[in-house]
């Protein structure tokens, strides 16, 4: 508590950013420090889990200090510590969670485990405090592609998910094939602006009628095959056209399925979330589609779309308001399910077979 304001800290380490933020009264962001490892993993062409974990461990005390310093608060003034406990890379999640647990214990602060996707969705509230559940959300990132019905701040119903690649994953693979390297998302987006989105008609995969699930591996394979046969013919397709056409195929499906989800649920608008929602073409297409039907569209600031601590702080703040706490036994859950898994983070969760014994110690 500082000047009568509730301070929530959010700690995020589920993939390759070590990020910590301090949020006042669930409204004003006092600091939002993000230490990205993109440069480290670039050499490997993707995130290497063991190396990500090693870097998180090194970075986290620096990021913690900077987050407090920039917010101008001391750790004693923090009221709640929130941390991403899943889903994500196990070793990476472990670093934020181990640090958060020890910090919460040492500082005598309550701890709240947060679902990473819940955080991404809650990032919208930082810019749009008026946004209240229920609403529809499209979650698009390197690891996730989901249409989610947000029934409450801590209650979600998954309406559709990818059956193969996440959309960001498909971007990364296509980027590699056309020689852009890692990370694929921003690089494809940038190059696509110089290309013709209808130069090549890559397959749009809608799956069976009525489903809100996604599939991107077919489109991705289409690009790989296209590049391969062009190479055999001795042709050199314009990379910008390939990028723009691939992107158009993928984004068209994302936008159409989102509109179908609005039809089915009857919600008046959609909130975008996750790293891919910074994509400029997606923002453009979604804005057009929503405007055409008079639907509302919420999008976080680009810096709050990719992984950050602010979104975790916001989710933790909402959970604190609902009185949903974790305890110091909090574990990490690399495959944590958004719809059914949230209870695993709550205090008193006792399903882990090892846990009851350990507590008797």
């Amino acid at each position: 508590m500082k000047d009568g304001r509730q301070l929530t800290m959010g700690i995020e380490s589920s993939c390759d950013e070590t990020a910590i933020a301090v949020l006042a009264d669930g409204r004003e962001l006092l600091s939002n420090v993000i230490s990205s490892q993109i440069k480290v993993h670039e050499a490997y062409g993707g995130v290497v889990p063991e190396i990500a974990s090693r870097h998180h461990l090194h970075n986290i005390p620096f990021v913690f200090k900077q987050a407090l310093d920039e917010a101008g608060v001391s750790v004693d003034e923090i009221d709640v510590i929130g941390v991403t406990a899943g889903p994500g890379l196990a070793g990476a999640l472990l670093m934020g969670t181990a640090f958060a647990k020890a910090a919460a214990m040492a500082a005598g602060k309550p701890l709240i485990g947060v679902h990473h996707i819940q955080g991404h969705i809650m990032a919208n509230l930082l810019e749009h405090p008026e946004l209240e559940p229920p609403f529809l959300s499209l979650v698009v990132s390197g690891g996730h592609t989901q249409l989610v019905e947000v029934r409450g701040y801590n209650e979600f119903k998954v309406l559709g998910s990818t059956r193969d690649d996440a959309v960001g994953e498909a971007y990364d693979k296509v980027a590699r094939v056309i020689g852009l390297g890692y990370p694929g998302g921003p690089k494809v987006d940038r190059l696509a602006r110089e290309g013709d989105p209808h130069a090549i008609e890559f397959k749009r995969v809608y799956l069976e009628p009525g489903t809100l699930d996604f599939s991107f591996s077919g489109t991705k394979t289409g690009v790989i095959n296209y590049m391969h046969s062009a190479e055999q013919r001795g042709e050199h397709p314009k990379a910008a056209d390939v990028a723009a056409s691939f992107q158009e195929a993928v984004l068209e499906v994302l936008v159409e399925k989102t509109m179908t989800a609005l039809d089915i649920t009857g919600y008046s608008g959609v909130a975008m979330a996750g790293g891919v929602s910074c994509n400029s073409r997606l923002r453009e297409k979604m804005t057009e589609a929503c405007a055409a039907r008079g639907a509302r569209l919420w999008m976080p600031f680009p810096v709050l779309c990719t992984d950050n601590g602010a979104m975790i702080a916001m989710a933790a703040y909402k959970k604190a308001q609902l009185g949903i706490w974790s305890d110091l036994h909090l574990d990490v859950w690399p495959g944590l399910d958004l719809e059914t898994g949230l209870g695993k983070l709550d205090a008193g969760y006792d399903a882990h077979p090892a846990r009851s014994d350990a507590r008797k110690l």
């Binding site: 050499a43 490997y44 062409g45 290497v48 063991e50 190396i51 974990s53 090693r54 461990l57 090194h58 986290i60 005390p61 620096f62 913690f64 200090k65 750790v75 196990a90 070793g91 472990l94 670093m95 969670t97 181990a98 640090f99 958060a100 647990k101 020890a102 910090a103 919460a104 214990m105 040492a106 500082a107 590699r176 305890d327 110091l328 036994h329 909090l330 574990d331 990490v332 882990h352 090892a354 846990r355 014994d357 350990a358 110690l361």
Partner: protein, 258 residues
């Protein structure tokens, strides 16, 4: 002096308080739930011992080698505690901490061997000279089990030659009132048992209660490092993996698939 130590590098996670004379160890016998247990255990240890964080001289952490993940859980925990309590961090070499095991007597050789997977071991050897005094015979390393055992044999022969005694099968046969014992520790004792007894038929395996690394041994070694002023802080404390990440090796050898 009051040291809080944590060890999450091996099969059992533990924490200990050591004031220079008396040690209190809290150990969790549930395999591999280190992340869940270590923070609550430290909280309970301090409460049960009536110790205030402000009384601590330093936070000590078993720095590895060991399971990469386990090593990091201990480091992340110690860094957070040290950062918030504003205490120095003592990096404790995990293999060396076995030189403080209670079952050892002067003249014994302590041989901690960890299972490092891929048929390798993280291992070292120390000759116990007296209470809290020992000499490093084999420096900590990641090596094949047979390679380490051969190195140990060589080190024993060399040190015996220096002392002017003869050695058979790694066991000293003359020149000392009490034959030296080779005492093996760590989770490698299960994995490499046959190879150890083939190389050293008289090898002794540490009693079960002392087989694995503990925060108590780490705390005793930490006290010595503390006295020497060998201190780090939450920013500079680093793990000792003894092995680079597989991807780093591949990148160095240009073996990364594109």
């Amino acid at each position: 002096m009051l040291i809080l130590a944590v060890d999450t590098t091996g099969p059992l996670c533990s924490c200990a308080l050591f004031d220079g004379e008396r040690a209190r160890l809290m150990i969790n016998k549930t395999d591999y739930s280190h992340l869940e247990e270590i923070a609550p255990m430290v909280k309970r240890l301090l409460a049960e011992e009536g110790a205030e964080p402000s009384e601590l001289s330093a936070v000590a952490v078993s720095r590895g080698p060991g399971s990469f993940t386990g090593v990091r859980i201990g480091l992340a925990t110690a860094k957070a505690l040290a950062q918030i309590w504003d205490k120095p961090v003592i990096e404790v070499p995990t293999l060396e901490s076995f030189a403080w095991a209670k079952c050892l007597h002067p003249g014994d050789i302590a041989c901690p061997m960890f299972d490092a997977r891929r048929d390798q071991t993280y291992a070292a050897a120390y000759r116990i000279d007296g209470e809290g005094a020992y000499t490093e015979l084999v420096r900590e390393e990641a090596a094949g089990a047979d390679e380490f055992l051969a190195q140990l044999k060589g080190a024993l022969e060399a040190s015996a030659r220096e002392a002017g005694v003869s050695v058979q099968d790694g066991t000293q046969v003359s020149g000392s009132a009490r034959p030296e014992r080779l005492v093996f520790f760590g989770d490698g004792t299960a994995k490499f048992r046959d190879r150890i007894t083939a190389a050293f038929p008289d090898a002794v395996f540490a009693p079960e209660g002392e087989r694995f690394q503990t925060a108590e041994n780490a705390a005793r070694l930490a006290a010595v490092l503390f006295a020497k002023g060998d201190l780090k802080d939450c920013y500079t404390a680093e793990p000792e993996y003894l092995r680079e990440a597989e991807a780093e090796k591949k990148l160095r050898n240009h073996e990364l698939g594109r």
